[in-house]
Symmetry: C2
Subunit: 252 residues, 2 copies
């Protein structure tokens, strides 16, 4: 297989580089990297229309290539595939992200959005996140993904696969749980400050509330399970369609 690696933490982030090393050492797959040149967390599915995109090439093993892009994670995937920086990949992996990407938070995630862009371009795509900002050992998570890649790819699915791995030593992980996306709710979101010129500004932060529903990815990670969620790409609310058609004709 030809695998495209990308992320939102940037080309040289240890999560991506560790996954590249493990894929290169432990498999026969060709691995290209097309990733943002720097930190792009929380950039969601944004793309760059009002600035040019610059490309810096880094040497990888021939014939595969590595490119750092001045844009967003979704720009990277579009430029890699539609801009033909690399041959069309058989699989896209976005990550390993430093920090979880769970529940409704995936809307904000550059990591998950890059995988979604892959899906929109017809490429099977996996987003992988290590669910901690402090724990920095990416190798167990990379090994886990590589060990399980074949069975994950056998799952019939037209969307993306969102994988979150506990940010702890492997012996503390529970098993694998198939989960639905939970609702991530935050409190104390904005911190108000005053700059040296007296202007008011806000920092966005906040802590996640700890009241998670059963069967969700949030709960699984809270209980130290590996979480896998099938995510689709059609936001149409089909349950409403026929009802709305009738109602809007009636009330015309």
């Amino acid at each position: 297989m030809h695998i495209l690696l990308t992320n939102d933490d940037g080309y040289f982030a240890p999560g991506l580089q560790t996954l590249y090393e493990v894929l290169s050492e432990c498999t026969d797959h060709d691995v290209s990297i097309v990733a943002p040149e720097g930190q792009r967390s929380a950039t969601g599915h944004s793309i760059t229309l009002f600035n040019p995109l610059f490309v810096t090439e880094y040497p990888l093993r021939d014939p595969i290539k590595g490119f750092a892009i001045s844009g967003t994670p979704s720009d990277c995937v579009k430029l890699a595939v539609q801009g033909e920086l690399i041959p069309k990949p058989d699989l896209l992996i976005s990550g390993i992200n430093q920090g979880s990407n769970l529940g409704t938070d995936i809307f904000y995630s550059g990591t998950v959005s890059a995988a979604m862009e892959g899906v929109l371009l017809g490429i099977p795509s996996i987003a992988v996140s290590l669910a901690s900002f402090e724990y920095k050992e990416f190798k167990p998570a990379a090994n886990y993904l590589v060990e399980n890649l074949d069975r994950f790819l056998k799952l019939e699915h037209h969307g993306l696969l969102n994988l979150n791995i506990p940010g702890k030593p492997r012996e503390e992980w529970g098993g694998l749980k198939v989960t639905r996306l939970g609702k991530a709710v935050y409190e104390n979101i904005f911190e108000k400050r005053t700059d040296p010129r007296g202007r008011v500004y806000f920092w966005q932060s906040g802590s996640m509330m700890q009241d998670y529903e059963d069967d969700t990815d949030l709960r699984a990670i809270q209980e130290d399970y590996v979480s896998i969620t099938p995510v689709h790409s059609d936001l149409t609310d089909f349950d409403c369609l026929s009802i709305w058609k009738e109602l809007l004709v009636k009330t015309k």
Copy 2:
């Protein structure tokens, strides 16, 4: 009702300002504006975590207020509601956007993402777009929304309502169609150039291909109908959940 207006074209964009005028003149609703200080098209659902958010207040009719924010459309909605810049609104309207927001393109849209942020915060939300970059008459679209607001709000729905209006004089519009999201496919996406220092860069553009499926929002707008699509906020692919649970246990 207290209505929060936002957009991704910026606080002073004519689409938002025209909608504000029509809502203020033709209804009794209180209307607050919290919108980006400048152009934020294609910023998707990105939020600002690594920069402070500055707020500029503009006078509107008392007691309602207008704020321009240094961040993204989703920042605006979060800061308005979670940062309590304004009282919690009963309805959020994002737009009127210059240009359509249709099909899978809504992933990139700051306009639709702002409305999605409203939904995540429990506020009924409508995204409104004028489906042309050239046609600049926003008043007929604003009037249409105001005339139909009550019947749209009677539709039971837990997601957002994505409304696209033809970018043409009203007498050329067809009726209202309830649609599903289509698949927006582009060709000739990237234009390669060389800067004065000899560095290669890319502009992202591309034209949409014109082969749309029945019942989609893309087709409706192509045929000059007003398009309304119910959009939900749960990206879980529920069709796969139980099958995956069984398969992953089997192959363990």
